[in-house]
Symmetry: C2
Subunit: 599 residues, 2 copies
């Protein structure tokens, strides 16, 4: 009997009208450990955006148009219905639940966000039925919680010790009168405690919750497990304890919290939680245990502080981009010499990944490399398949979006390169996207400006050509943390935190033409303090990425003279920075590649 | 005894800790009838942004740095303390009230907005003491309510009859299940009923409230008064009654509403009000009379509909800009020939106002003309004084910001012109502002974009030069209604309604250098539907204003070739559109003025 059938029977037996499941883990993480890939397990659908509602008689899966083709393939032959989000007149999960008159709604409260749970709660007068780890009873081979080595981040690259960061946090708590703060967001815990792991793909993070009081700190982490006999983890735990951080097992978080929150003293205290990164199971524990005035619901104070890199972190990130640039230039040289020789997108990906892995201090990729030729590149989130990927020809455009996690930083870079002759449309789009990239890189904004303003300045030239792309211009990037970090959000429909000096983010405009080609040019930029004068204070941007832009696909007359000058200057900087660290033949080739062009 | 002293005594006698007064009328109007210029009457301060708190022992006035010099002059010799808004660490009115431990707070509830009242209510546990028209008892010579002729807007220019507009509104009410909607915003009433007046300076509006039900409409307006014996008003009222609009006197609104809301049937009905334009006296009447579920608090549905001009209105606005352009060109010719001949800013203003007044269908100015030479122009809201205004010399820059109200539309235009030799800085700033203007005029945006995005695209070139200006890039403009209309808001810190086809707004970047010069280049633009393709739907902008930009102060090398082409094309269009309607000598001069330049 299929899992879905078993679940349906369970729902019917227990008078539950609907079970709602999200592709999510207990920490609102972007990448999921296999244990939490529940929608894939249930349905076979591998797309990142996936939610399901199972009722005693129906199974419905939600995704968005990016996955239209994939979902049809993955669900072929199943009786799962598909509904699309982000389309006109989309039927949302609450809409659907109302339409089937669901009164009794169950969730896995560990993997449901507070926002999602509150939205579901609006549908029905009955309290949601919270079933933490509900799937355990049906998923016999469910992967265990990840349990990897925990190690210390090198403070030489972090610029601040965990004691300093804890003391900063406690300063805020003291000022606000907060007794405890709960942190469930994994990169915030890693940042605060200067610890790293590899429990989640591409993210150097450990699964954990952290409770900090003015005097103590309690870390809930996989304490016992196969990897944890290792010396690194033991010494990390010792170092943490020395800094006043007590270590508990991950699974104890609910029971310890439960005891603490129901203690008589708790009602005289203030607990701060961030509902955007706390799972609903823990959230309701707070709300059910304490009067409202004991709970401060607010964005974590760590988010913005972590996003603004200190000078040591910035230097380390520059080192990461130097090393990463060497790997990238070696790769682009290889591509230039091997395209048309029978190599595929997948082969190319392996070559690049290998160059990165050779770097001392390399930890992992920062996301799965996108190696995409011709029409493959028209899919912004193309997953290069091991079998059947396209062979690179000596014509058209090849796009590679990739990055690494190093002890000293995180990188994210996209280059699109001509492999030979390109069509006029390809070259025009190539140049327009480069112009949009440069407009962002050269921008100056008043202090306190928002990502939406930078996004508009960059896209202006694409819009005038009646073109556009449907992802953000940029996202924040962590310091040996997640490659996607908020803030900043450099997007078209979004105002959150202003862009602040020290923030590092991607500048990655694109144009995608289905069935034909895709172009994206991506560097990481550092937001820096610029001039202060009678007009106020300004910010501007320093490019961190060190890898030349190919000038061979540029159409003359589109870049302005100052944009051309920026490009020539940038390519010269790349050559001068890397030439002595590249194999001679690559350096010679790069010299040719970085000769200045005229506008 | 001064009025303030009398008020203080009154407060002390009645155990009121503080009286809060706003420069406001019962309709949240931008311009105030003299009756509502209460802060000016009390303090002598004429600035537009003014609020006061009077306690038994202190008087404090709030304004913002724009009025720093003026407030010092106007309050010289008084014991009124001044506090500034919009500065770092500003002390707000609630801050102040808390600091003086005000528990019993009084307001004139007729001239206090809902937002302001709710903010004050947060300060104290005691209910606010609402004293409508409180100043009447102290202000012996208080001007009466304005009472001017009410006339019908010409439906040939409006494109829709009042019956059609009422029927559209009732369609929305029906769909939503609303029984009554109250409209207090004067331009919404004028638009809906196609009536106009001149009860408020520069705004062709009548003081009124309007209550619309599915079958009836009740207009509260100055029914009896000196102007109202006139034939126009009588025939307007007759036409309104024919359209099912019953006329009541303005002063009856509270008592009629009070009776209606306390009637037994009211509790089964839905009343829609817009708290952003309802005064607190009426708002509390609703909240005190009815259960919460009978009141729908929402932005008025008229706001966005009114902002999107129909094709007849657009044609009429084009006619207004044609006529206005003739007046402007005649004026600029006059300036070019008379500067340096002893004429002052004030003389120039009178000449321009006279040219406008000659236009058939002229109703009034759309705001007080700003005629500013040299350092005067550095004040964006300079009020040209009748006595002692600067004499125009044959050098430097002269700025004129002005507009008219015509039966067929509303205009708003700023031109800055060189009167002779200009400094390098003046010319550089002149050119940068022109570039910013053109970047907005040439912009293309995806449908659904916001003003903040257009604002950033325009300012980009100023920001790169580390310059900026501290007002919005643009504001919406009404159709023979207020010259300031929202939406759209084309500003740096603001997301409200998206920019929609049919919206008309100003494109008016500037640079202001204190003590030296000020530059602003302003046209009105019409938002139009642009191409729809694989990248979605786009909007772009058509310039309505017809008046050339002076090319004599342009520094070469700053405008791009496409911006230069736009400018040459625009100037040619102005010449070709107006030449046959101008006096021959003006046409000849304009021919020279509009010769194409190189970039």
């Amino acid at each position: 009997m299929s899992a879905i059938k078993q679940i349906r029977d369970y729902l019917a037996e227990n008078c539950i009208d609907a079970l709602v499941l999200y592709n999510s883990d207990p920490h609102e993480s972007e990448y999921l450990a296999p244990r939490y890939c529940s929608i894939e397990w249930l349905s076979g659908f591998k797309g990142e955006n996936a939610k399901m509602v199972i009722t005693p008689s129906r199974s419905v899966l939600w995704t968005d148009p990016r996955y239209e083709i994939q979902v049809a393939q993955d669900l072929a032959g199943s009786d799962i219905e598909v509904l699309m989000e982000r389309v006109p007149n989309a039927i949302s999960i609450p809409d659907f639940l109302k339409s089937v008159e669901a009164k009794t709604i169950a969730i896995d409260s560990l993997t449901t966000s507070v926002a999602a749970a509150l939205e579901l709660q609006d549908v029905t007068e009955n309290a949601l039925i919270c079933l933490p780890d509900f799937l355990d009873r049906f998923w016999k081979e469910r992967p265990a919680m990840p349990c990897k080595d925990i190690f210390e981040a090198d403070v030489r690259y972090m610029g601040e010790s965990r004691e300093e960061r804890l003391s900063w946090l406690r300063g805020i708590m003291e000022k606000e009168g907060t007794d405890y703060i709960l942190i469930s967001e994994l990169s915030e815990i890693a940042w605060l405690l200067n610890i790293r792991s590899s429990e989640i793909d591409y993210n150097p993070l450990a699964m954990a919750h952290l409770l900090v009081s003015l005097d103590d700190a309690y870390l809930y982490i996989r304490k016992i497990g196969k990897a944890h006999g290792e010396i690194t983890t033991a010494s990390t735990f010792a170092a943490l304890e020395q800094a006043g951080v007590s270590i508990y097992d991950y699974d104890e978080v609910t029971s310890v919290l439960s005891t603490l929150l129901s203690s008589p003293g708790a009602k005289t205290m203030k607990f701060r939680i961030d509902p955007s990164t706390t799972n609903y199971e823990i959230y309701r524990l707070f709300l059910e245990s304490l009067p409202e005035n004991c709970i401060v619901q607010a964005d974590s104070p760590i988010t913005v502080r972590k996003a603004c890199k200190n000078s040591v972190e910035i230097e380390a990130m520059k080192k990461a981009h130097f090393e990463d640039g060497i790997a990238m230039e070696k790769f682009l040289y290889w591509i230039d010499n091997n395209a048309g020789e029978g190599v595929t997108e997948y082969d190319a990906m392996q070559v690049l990944d290998e160059y990165r892995a050779e770097i001392e201090g390399y930890h992992s990729l920062s996301f799965g490399t996108i190696s995409a030729y011709g029409p493959s590149a028209a899919l912004p989130h193309y997953m290069t398949p091991a079998e059947g990927s396209l062979e690179l020809q000596r014509c058209g455009l090849y796009l590679v979006d990739s990055g690494g996690q190093y002890d000293f930083g995180t990188t994210d870079i996209t280059r699109t390169v001509p492999l030979g002759e390109c069509s006029q449309e390809e070259m025009l789009d190539y140049t327009l996207v480069l112009k949009a990239h440069i407009r962002c890189a050269m921008a100056v904004l008043p202090a306190g400006s928002f990502g939406i303003q930078l996004d508009a300045i960059s896209r202006d030239c694409l819009w005038r050509a009646r073109k556009n792309f449907f992802h953000g211009l940029g996202h924040g990037v962590g310091m040996f943390l997640g490659v996607h970090e908020c803030p900043p959000n450099v997007r078209s429909r979004f105002i959150d935190s202003p862009m602040l000096p020290g923030m590092i983010f991607s500048d990655e405009p694109g144009i995608y033409v289905q069935g034909s080609h895709g172009i994206r040019h991506e560097n990481l930029l550092l937001c820096t303090q610029d001039e202060t004068n009678d007009y106020g204070s300004f910010i501007s941007f320093e490019t961190l990425t060190l890898c030349h832009f190919d000038t061979r696909a540029i159409v003359p007359g589109i870049l302005s003279s100052e944009e051309t000058e920026w490009l020539n200057q940038y390519n010269a900087t790349v050559y001068n920075s890397l030439k002595d660290s590249l194999p001679q033949e690559v350096a010679d080739w790069l010299y040719d590649m970085t000769q200045p062009i005229e506008c």
